[in-house]
Amino acid sequence: MNVIELHNICKTYHVGELDVPVLKGITLAVGRGELVALTGASGSGKSTLMNILGCLDRPSSGRYVLDGQDISGLSADDRAHVRNNKIGFVFQNFNLLPRTSALENVILPLTYAAEHLTDHQATGRALQLIERVGLADRAHHEPSQLSGGQQQRVAIARALVNRPSILFADEPTGNLDSRTSREVLSMFEQLNREEGITIILVTHDQEVARHARRAIHISDGVIVDGQFGPGAAP
């Protein structure tokens, strides 16, 4: 049962007259409930791939099937809907709204959710997640009043607030010290183990990659290792 299927995904940027091919035919399948680490050198195209997986960007060619739904042909609005309902995304640089409390930041995706929630329910759900990431006493702090690790935990709570089935994290520990990154990573492991959320995370840390049950290595726009998961047949 694959939740993600990529078929020969290519991405080419156009800088002026110049074509910059970044992804050169990625074929990949990820099963439900997997925890996958994506590694590769800087500039190898990890973020580009993550943005395509997170429905933020569109591939130049190839087919992307998410949860049985073909994403490649969707309109911008439909992709927004998919982002809101099925996907949680944790950015490398947090991307929290400045001058807005942690609680408000976590509620943000609910503002655009199709499901009907009262204010009270929305706040309740957000507070519950904030508590879960260990920031119950910081709910009303603004990002500028939080440490890097705390900000990243707010970002994780925000990614989870719509109860997505898949979580993408682009270098979630890139800006954190080793102790906080271990905390964040164990939180991901816990989410994967207890909630069965499929998680794909980009990391440079070999330790982290070893922790994951599956590691995909990308180099120069192609997958060189881990294309096929432990359960998936070629």
Binding site: A80, R83, F89, L97, T111
Partner: protein, 464 residues
């Protein structure tokens, strides 16, 4: 579900505005000033036109003024009063034959000094007329004495009735009754004083008036001047002018002396009637029975006068009739024009305010590109972003509009209080300001909002 989403978007917009209250306030200032200006202009315009209506009503709105001459005939413009086509008999015929006319008064006008003792004054109106003048003007009661009579007119008696202003200027508080005032060296005995009427709608003092029998004014006062002023006029009037000239020259020789000739008795008068056939009057003032009968009265008067003047069909009228509705529409259209002019200036300031909003919204969209990218990344669709920025603009405009309405009302009240200008609260102004300010918000907020909605999430997130 959809309204709920909109409610959330409104709250989001309010939060965004609250994050930068100073900028929002300054942006709204353009709208505040614009809306306040619109409100003030509309209220002043409405107040002044209401004041004009009231004045017109108070000065006998049903009056019709017949003047000789056409405004233009065959391309040649004579101007009113330049030809002498109206006679006292015309006035009599209008009275007799026009059922829609309530009262008629022929009028002879003069403009000269009135002297009493060592005081003198040039009243605005010296009218030679008939007793019916008071009825035409609905000026029924006198403050003192009584009006001259028809026999005074036949005899060209040197009697007069004065308005309050003239009394004040000449007599300074003393009673004028029975005193003699001089008009071009003709002595008039004061037999009555009019009640106060105040200014008319042109701002002219209606109490600055001297009324006398029209025959007296015609033959004794304006006789000479009329002939010199109108040398081209028919020699037919020469006879009457001759008479009055001799009277005047005698008065000049012996001022204050009684007339050398005995005053003709009524029977003498009847045997040698005044040459009324050749006499013209300057104007005929009539009153229609009611405002509704003004058009009917106009038609009847026109018919009677055309018949009497033997005008063939197709020939232009040799007279013109001015009614107060014409005047009042002229006045109110003039004030409406002024009000519209002011209003368009005010609307321009609203547009300038709108451009200010657009400018700020564009800056805001650029400044918040990352925020827009993030909102899109967590599931906002283009139209959610569009709505958010549009609502921000509309909220700013509506808030500005509300403050503008309060400010405008306050200022127009202040204007009434300080300058005594009439203003009137205009619901239309308030409603249209709300509509216009929301419209300004939508129109000028749309482009920035549309620009924001079209952003690509990944590019927006990458924006530095």
């Amino acid at each position: 579900m959809i309204p709920f989403r909109i409610l959330r978007t409104i709250r989001t917009a309010l939060k965004a505005l609250r994050r930068n209250p100073m900028r929002a306030a300054l942006t709204a200032l353009g709208i505040i000033i614009g809306v306040a200006a619109v409100i003030i202009m509309m209220e002043i315009g409405k107040g002044s036109s209401a004041a004009i209506q009231r004045t017109i009503a108070s000065m006998g709105a049903n009056n019709l003024l017949i003047q000789p001459g056409t405004a233009a005939s065959g391309g040649v413009s004579f101007g009113s009063g330049s030809v002498m086509t109206l006679t006292p008999d015309d006035a009599e015929a209008v009275r007799r034959e026009c059922p829609a006319v309530r009262a008629v008064a022929p009028m002879v006008r003069a403009r000269t000094q009135v002297i009493y003792g060592n005081r003198n004054w040039v009243p605005f109106f010296i009218f030679g007329t008939t007793p019916d003048y008071l009825e035409v003007r609905e000026w029924t009661s006198l403050a003192a004495g009584e009006m001259f009579t028809d026999s005074d007119i036949r005899n060209a008696s040197k009697v007069c009735v004065l308005g309050q202003t003239l009394v004040r200027e000449l007599f300074a508080g003393a009673s004028p009754m029975g005193k003699e005032v001089r008009v071009q060296n003709v002595s008039f005995r004061v037999i009555g004083v009019l009640t106060m009427k105040g200014a008319n709608m042109m701002g002219m003092d209606q109490d600055d008036i001297l009324l006398a029998p029209w025959t007296t004014v015609k033959y004794r006062v304006t006789g000479t001047s009329a002939q010199t002023a109108n040398q081209s006029t028919s020699s037919a009037s020469g006879q009457s002018s001759g008479v009055s000239q001799s009277v005047n020259s005698l008065s000049k020789l012996y001022p204050g002396q009684p007339s050398l000739y005995p005053v003709p008795s009524a029977s003498q008068q009847a045997n040698t009637p005044l040459p009324v056939r050749f006499t013209n009057v300057d104007q005929i003032l009539t009153a229609a029975r009611s405002g509704a009968e003004i058009p009917l009265a106009l038609r009847q008067i026109t018919q009677v006068l055309r018949e009497r003047h033997r005008l063939r069909p197709g020939e232009p009228d040799d007279f013109n009739i001015r009614d107060m509705t014409e005047m009042s529409t002229t006045m109110s259209s003039a004030s409406k024009l002024m009000a519209n002019l002011l209003l368009s200036v005010a609307l321009i300031s609203l547009v300038v305010g709108g451009v200010g909003i657009m400018n700020i919204m564009l800056v805001s969209v650029t400044e918040r590109t990352r925020e827009i990218g993030l909102r899109m990344a967590v599931g906002a669709r283009g139209r959610d972003i569009l709505r958010q920025f549009l609502i921000e603009a509309v909220v700013m405009c509506l808030a500005g509009g509300a403050i503008g309405i309060v400010l405008g009302q306050g200022v127009s009240k202040l204007i009434t209080f300080l300058l005594r200008w009439p203003t009137e609260t205009s619901i239309a102004a308030i409603v249209s300001s709300v509509v216009v300010s929301a419209g300004v918000g939508i129109i000028f907020g749309f482009y920035p909002a549309w620009k924001a909605a079209r952003l690509d999430p990944i590019e927006a997130l990458r924006y530095e």
